[in-house]
Subunit: 450 residues, 2 copies
């Protein structure tokens, strides 16, 4: 280490500063690392990916409104010049709480004095993992570009079809899950099709596009107020979205989404229904809830391991009003809390239990409407959308990203176009030899251009 | 067709306007389509990809300076509202010059009155296609993000290595081919490593990065003046690039690039050495040169087929000074020429042979230097770079893209950061389960964080 400070709780032979290992560079982990930067600890932040992802705007990448580089930022550059923070691109294979060691799957190990587990959540298919092939989730940059490709290819395929009925089927898009992701996707999907289908395509007409939003519960946005749920439903229906409530997906296959009483035939399906704690939680021998989340104490620590913490979506934190929701403000506040806890303990001081300060929740419905519950009040329409825009830009990490996202939004209004509409393929052979398989698999409509 | 005009050369039973089929949405094909838009012809533009790619800036995507959406634009949106132009995403399987028909590989066919073949070039490995696995080319958006991933992963791998010698080997990057792409890549690579390695990494030092540029001929930029070649070599060497001239690659494998007298051991290799005409040319029974290019007449038409044209990189156009180079101004001028030829012929008038107006060539060397040959004068340094920036922004398709690329460049100066540094993976299983194979394959340096 370049800078040596008072090693209050020396563990290493060299009398070094205490070592904090953080697993995960999402909202929680990154906040913890930032709060520990420049303080008398050493920090190692381990993430599987090299970038921090601003998940609340990921649906915009899937809908070609933003480019991946506008919602993701390299973790290294966020922690640039923080000399006591070391970033590692790696995959954690095991956590040894007793031995205070984290093992990566490539053999490297890190001893720790304090551990912050912030590995987040992953999509869950209720044990039906084969649904994933038909209904990709929206959790990573790669997921978003995959959905973007599927949606744009559906339009391209439809454009090649002279038969109206076939075309309508190609143009049906189903979203499973009526939470914020599902609602925001549905709104953006309608606007994407309205903005690009009007001028760019010849056969496909805007009104042929059918967006179906399927929710198992009795209202959309169940984490928000009933007024917001109602408003979201009305606004989406006014945009032409079909909303199906109280219906669980029983099966998902190439035909579409099978419900109890019908089948929603859809070419493109997006999964926005369920998440589970990251698989890392399974390998750690502590009590968990049925979503796989680590049940933490009131200071975010693990039972019997006061020096190990779980925060954000991988943790279950119970309050009088039930468990805290899996949203970014919870993870960020927990990250800052845990950092403060560690720093105070290093100084020999104690810390009060964690308290979540709920500043409100919001969801956007298309480009000029949103719903927001702030301090018990429900905002709707354009004012709520402006509040949504402000909050999201404010929390977007990286000044340059903020400027660019704002410019993209302004550009979307002025030019009414979507710049990020690239169809890119993964497999080099695939794209250099033939168009992708699914693109070829459509009906072979032989026609001449007469 | 919505708008019916005078069918001067009716071919279809319906007395429709003449039908022009354009294969390829690159510089040549797109210019032709734009010049035919709104004129008394029907146009079908067929491309394998949904976007027009501004290839001269593709190296910036590979070097994380620009995002893919800033150098690529959907063809549909360029031709938006051009009612007589129909865009088709598809792969041409065969061209029947006699029968005047183009067949796609999914069974669809298009009859044509006029055909413009503008399918471009593809990377060529001198018959050693297995080199591609070790030395990816830089022709598509996917190529660029693959190179970006490889380079960034090389840095990440090196950061995990305590052994200085191992680390240096990981940090050697070789570029095969000293044309504009190779020269621009080499300069950008040095700047990428200087800008991000200084603050973001802990172990890896800027001076450890080694960039080797290998050219088979006796000078860089052989298409430009000798003064420009000299200046480019001096400028790159001043930046620390090793330049090897007069050496052909004899083999490329996991060790590196094998030359006659040595092996350049490199972790990352980029292929910028050779191109061949698109594979489509092979299937067309007309005379070709040894680069597979269709030899065209002085009006860009195919011998014995006055209604079929080949333009841009897929065509060989001979002049008194030798064949025209494979650069975008040639393709664009040919595209406009062919469009004019078709429109005049429809009107019953004749057209003079094609003449290329060479307005100059340029290549950038890093962020503030360039070389340019304009009207027989060689410009160098900062003035040449400003000229380069102006010309490239001017020809970048799409107003919004231009603004954003300019802003990115300004941002790169102000913030000295690269926003587009995402490592994204292709295979979903791969990234959700483990880090990519090549990342794991490195030496397993077991170390503790003590």
């Amino acid at each position: 280490m370049k800078v040596r400070g008072r090693a209050v709780r020396p563990r290493d032979a060299g009398g070094d500063r205490p070592h904090v290992v953080i697993i995960g560079g999402g909202f929680g982990g990154l906040e913890a690392a930032k709060a520990l930067a420049g303080r008398p600890v050493r920090v190692t932040l381990i993430d599987r990916s090299n970038h921090h992802l601003f998940q609340p705007l990921l649906y915009q990448v899937a809908m070609a409104g933003l480019s991946p580089t506008e919602v993701a930022i390299p973790i290294r550059s966020v922690l640039r010049n923080k000399d006591n923070v070391h970033t590692v691109l790696g995959n954690v294979a095991a956590v040894d709480l007793e031995g205070r060691r984290v093992d990566l799957d490539d053999g490297e190990s890190f001893d720790f004095d304090y551990l912050v587990i912030a590995a987040g959540a992953r999509p869950a298919y209720f044990g039906q993992e084969h649904w994933r092939a038909h209904a990709p989730p929206l959790k990573s940059v790669e997921d978003a570009t995959e959905i973007r490709r599927e949606v744009l290819l559906a339009f391209e395929r439809a454009e090649r079809m002279a038969n109206d009925l076939q075309r309508r089927k190609k143009l049906t898009l189903a979203i499973v899950g009526g939470g914020p992701t599902g609602v925001e996707l549905a709104g953006a999907l309608v606007e994407l099709s309205q903005s690009i289908l009007s001028g760019d395509f010849r056969r496909v007409q805007t009104q042929e596009v059918r967006v179906v939003l399927i929710e198992g519960g009795d209202r959309l946005l169940s984490g928000m107020s009933e007024a917001s749920s109602r408003e979201a439903k009305l606004a989406l229906e006014a945009m032409g979205v079909e909303i199906i409530l109280n219906r669980m997906a029983r099966d998902i296959d190439e035909r579409g989404v099978h419900l109890d009483d019908r089948i929603v035939e859809a070419e493109t399906i997006v999964w926005a229904a369920g998440v589970r704690a990251s698989a890392l939680a399974e390998s750690i021998d502590v009590p968990k809830d049925q979503a796989g989340r680590i049940i933490v104490r009131h200071d975010c620590s693990l039972p019997n391991h006061p020096n190990a913490f779980a925060i954000g979506d991988i943790a279950r934190f119970d309050t009088e009003d039930g468990p805290l929701p899996g949203v970014s403000p919870v993870a960020m506040q927990q990250g800052r809390y845990v950092a403060r806890w560690i720093l105070r303990t290093v100084e020999g001081r104690s810390t009060k239990p964690f308290r979540y300060r709920d500043k409100g929740t919001m969801a956007t419905i298309g480009r000029r409407r949103a719903v927001a519950d702030v301090l018990g009040v429900t905002m709707t329409g354009y004012p709520a959308w402006l509040a949504w825009l402000f909050v999201h830009l404010f929390f977007l990490v990286g000044f340059k990203n903020r400027v660019f996202v704002l410019l993209q939004w302004i550009g979307a209004y002025v030019f009414e176009s979507r710049g990020a509409r690239l169809i890119t393929f993964n497999d080099r052979k695939q794209r250099s030899e033939t168009p992708p398989r699914r693109f070829n698999a459509g009906p072979r409509s032989v026609e001449t251009a007469s």
